[in-house]
């Protein structure tokens, strides 16, 4: 076996808490990367995977520092280098692709200026050579108009293109080691496979060694040779990709596998309910938009029906209008044409005009619980306010209700006296749901409430949603971009694209072939837990995109 390119031994990274105590967030990590090999670091948020990958570059985020171990790149200990030497190493030998290219590109410089910056300032290439090489990389990454795209500013290209441009920036110096930190997480699902595919091809063609950081086991199966599973900064399991996905040893790896975003093997038709009653909520022929006179159309001719006790999944990519539809129903914006009907009665356009009773029945749960909850209010206040406002409870009654509600969402009752920042992400999302429940609504609009959560925690929230539905006969409008999740929990589905509903019906009707090309494209984009999935999916995707014709 040849000498490894990167040798990480017993790496420790610590943070110092407010009292000055050291606290290890990365604990005794060791692994090797052979030349030309891709190793995946996989784990949930807080598992230390990004910290480890940054540590391989001799970098720590503010507040952290490396307290032990060694990182050797081709025999040189990265951790012993001076800052100046490190900056040379980083530009040339180890390069980095960040999670959000949109945030990580400098908005004040053109793309070319940033891609070619390092070889030009270090004198490794002339300006014209660097530009030619950049254009070649753009071509390899199948970017549109490779000769001119670099002349633009970052805000002038799409997110998927930016992510690929960032890969070009990382590859321009022919690094020996490439670090990819969740490079597709911020992208739409149908874009993700294209980007992933071009990364895979790039790594293979240049025979570059890479560290791939992600929380998504099924994605990693497509690119990695070895997988290192992390939990709370410690190694849980380390092995070849085939072995990890076919025969995971550790319970945590098994749990990760179980919670992966995979399509269920079979899609069951929902139980046939003879709905004699009028539907709970109807959107009839609604058109809405933004700007003066709602000229920029975001929703076109929408018809949607939600019955009592039913979950309707609304699925689409960013810009499809799914969140706008939620805002329209809840009255956060008005319709240009058409209307919203609750129990057959038309609702007023905006929140301000609706009666308290109408408002109470439709509640909204926002995606980002940490932003939606006031960090300076105790949970007791957050939860009792809707009870007092909508239901007219007294302070004392509300206090009792809060305790009951916290139990209902599986949180300890003494949490009532905590502030939201003291809670974990999953706990905050439970509070977010509890706040919607506090009004005793009949419909909750759930806007991507599980997308910011780790897979295992997200699964727990979904289970909670189902329990609540059974107990309280609630209806959900579940807005998401994740077709696998929606397939598991919805009775009916509406697929949205460019402001229209392109397919709608019971879950088995919509998702069982033959289905609409766009639904097919979404289905095709859900990763499967086998290593040859990606190549097939990309071929299929290109056919479907061509069939959609835009």
């Amino acid at each position: 076996m040849p000498a490894p390119l990167l040798k990480v031994r017993n790496l420790d990274v610590s943070v110092r808490d407010k009292k000055g105590h050291e606290f290890k967030i990365v604990d005794d990590i060791s692994f090797d990367v052979q030349p030309g090999e891709v190793i995946a670091l996989i784990g949930e948020s807080g598992s230390g995977k990004t910290t480890i990958s940054l540590g391989c570059m001799g970098y720590t985020r503010p507040g952290c520092h490396i307290t032990g171990g060694s990182v050797e790149l081709g025999g040189v200990n990265v951790l012993d280098q001076s800052l100046a030497a490190l900056q040379e190493l980083r530009g040339k030998d180890i390069t980095y692709v960040a999670q959000s290219a949109a945030a990580s590109f400098n908005g004040a410089m053109t793309i070319d200026a940033q891609v070619t910056e390092i070889p030009i300032i270090t004198g490794a290439m002339s300006r014209s050579d660097a530009l030619a090489k950049a254009a070649q990389l753009y071509r390899d990454l199948e970017l549109p108009d490779p000769d001119n795209i670099g002349k633009r500013y970052p805000h002038q290209v799409s997110g998927g293109q930016l992510q690929r441009l960032m890969a070009a920036m990382a590859m321009i110096s022919d690094p020996r080691l490439l670090i990819l930190d969740e490079p597709t997480t911020a992208l739409d699902v149908t874009t993700q496979i294209e980007v992933l595919y071009s990364f895979k091809k790039l790594i293979k063609d240049h025979n570059t060694a890479a560290i791939y950081v992600t929380h998504d086991l099924s994605l990693v199966a497509q690119v990695a040779d070895h997988i290192l599973v992390l939990k709370d900064g410690q190694m849980v399991e380390y092995g070849a990709t085939e072995q990890i996905i076919s025969d995971p040893q550790h319970d945590y790896t098994k749990a990760l596998m179980a919670a992966a975003h995979l399509m269920p093997d079979e899609i069951h038709a929902p139980p046939v309910v003879t709905n004699e009653d009028a539907p709970l909520l109807q959107v009839r022929n609604a058109t809405a938009g933004y700007g003066p006179n709602q000229d920029i159309i975001a929703l076109q001719d929408i018809d949607l029906t939600i019955h009592a006790g039913e979950t309707v999944g609304v699925i689409g990519e960013s810009g499809s209008g799914k969140t706008t539809l939620g805002r329209l129903i809840s009255g956060l914006m008005g319709a240009k044409k058409g209307g919203i009907y609750l129990d057959g009665q038309q609702l007023a356009q905006s929140v301000g005009q609706r009666s308290k009773e109408d408002l109470r029945q439709i509640q909204f749960a926002f995606q980002m619980a940490d932003v939606a909850l006031n960090p300076r209010q105790r949970l007791n206040k957050i939860l009792s306010r809707p009870m007092q406002f909508y239901r007219g409870l007294s302070r004392r009654e509300a206090d009792k209700e809060v305790a009951r509600l916290l139990e209902r969402v599986d949180l300890p009752t003494d949490f009532a006296w905590r502030f939201p920042p003291e809670l974990s992400g999953g706990q905050r999302q439970r509070v977010n749901l509890a706040r919607a429940l506090a009004a005793e609504p009949r419909l909750i609009i759930c806007d991507e409430i599980t997308s910011a959560l780790d897979t295992i925690v997200a699964q727990q929230i979904l289970d909670l949603l189902e329990d609540l539905q059974d107990e309280l006969n609630l209806s959900y409008m579940f807005i998401t971009h994740d077709i696998a999740t929606v397939a598991k929990i919805s009775e009916r589905i509406a697929v949205m694209r460019l402001g229209r509903i392109v397919a709608q019906g019971t879950v088995d009707q919509v998702l069982t072939p033959p289905c609409h090309e766009y639904t097919q494209l979404l289905l095709n984009s859900v990763p499967e837990m086998r290593t040859d999935w990606l190549d097939e999916a990309v071929v299929e995707r290109r056919k479907l995109v061509a069939a959609l014709g835009d």
Binding site: P62, L83, G91, A103, N106, I118, Q156
Partner: protein, 317 residues
């Protein structure tokens, strides 16, 4: 919205604000206690004489007519004559304004680059010795009122050391050297008062940018420290920095009253103070309008510059 539309909108807002300010200035001086006619006549005011003077000055006209006459004259550059001595206000303003501009310009040329350099130096290593020295001394400077700073400077350099004159009055015979001698203390006083604000703002704007993912990316791709600050961080911090500079320059033009009075410097600020003492309303109105215009124009320029500095606005999708 195209960039021209944005700029046009900003321009219309600027002019609107100016008009609004002119109404405030006019009404403000109108409701000042005391009557101009009485002020001119002093103790010998009889009702007939007062009426006569009012008629001559046009003070018997209704308020809104007088406002439009006054505004029309102001816009066409006719500032009227001093009530106290009948001198043409325009000529006097011209002379005084150029003195104030020299004072403000000297201060700007020294204070702006200095504060950006100090702000950057502080931001390089937050919490380090350099940073703590700069932030604590600038905090101390902000806390001292400008007259105190000026008095301390005069005490040290004029009274104790006798290096520089304590008074900055100007004689026609003055050569460049004399100008420099008399300007040093007022410029120092002004620099100290505006420096602190600009340093702190530059520091926090640059720190804000330095904690962004784009800067982390630049570090990870191997950009050297100096280039990181000058090429990556500074251009992204321009918006807030330009705004605070404009605010302080506006202060320089309008807020020099204290320094000019203290050093007996014949600029606009002292002109206005003298006019207030004499109840010379036309001069007060004119000076107030000039100060407000400069304030608004500088702020508008800052807005336009920070819009132009943002490529998201310059280049559409």
């Amino acid at each position: 919205m195209s960039i021209l539309e944005i700029l046009g909108k900003r321009l219309v807002f600027g002019v609107g604000t100016l008009l609004f300010v002119s109404v405030l200035v006019f009404i403000g001086t109108e409701i000042l206690p005391g009557d101009v006619a009485h002020a001119i006549l002093g103790q010998g005011a009889t009702p007939e004489l007062v009426a006569q003077i009012k008629e001559r000055l046009g003070l018997d006209q209704p308020l809104h007519i007088r406002y439009f006459v006054w505004l029309g004259n102001f816009v066409t550059g006719d500032f009227g004559t001093s009530l106290a001595n009948g001198a043409d206000i325009g000529t006097e303003i011209g002379r005084r304004a150029s003195n104030t501009i020299i004072l403000a310009l000297c201060t700007t040329v020294i204070a702006v680059p200095l504060s950006i350099i100090l702000g950057l130096a502080a931001a390089v290593k937050p919490g380090g010795i350099v940073d703590r020295a700069i932030t604590s001394s600038s905090l101390a400077l902000i806390s001292f009122p400008d007259f105190l700073v000026a008095v301390v400077l005069v005490t040290i350099f004029a009274v104790k050391l006798r290096w520089l004159p304590a008074i900055a009055s100007i004689r026609p015979s003055y050569e460049l050297v004399d100008w420099i001698r008399i300007l040093i203390l007022p410029v120092m006083g002004l620099t100290f008062t505006i420096l602190a604000h600009m340093v702190r703002m530059t520091r926090s704007a640059v720190l804000n940018v330095l904690s962004s993912p784009a800067i982390e990316m630049a570090i990870l791709k191997g950009v050297p420290r100096r280039r990181l600050l000058l090429r990556h961080a500074l251009p992204n911090a321009f918006g807030p920095i330009i705004n605070v500079i404009a605010l302080n320059l506006a202060y320089l033009i309008s807020g020099v009253v204290v320094i000019e009075t203290l050093f007996n410097f014949p600029g606009l600020g002292r002109y206005m103070v003298e006019a207030v003492t004499n109840r010379d309303v036309p001069i007060v109105q004119t000076c107030a309008m000039i100060f407000c215009s400069v304030y608004i124009i500088l702020n508008m320029t800052a807005d336009i510059l920070s819009i132009m500095a943002n490529p998201r606005v310059r280049y559409k999708k």
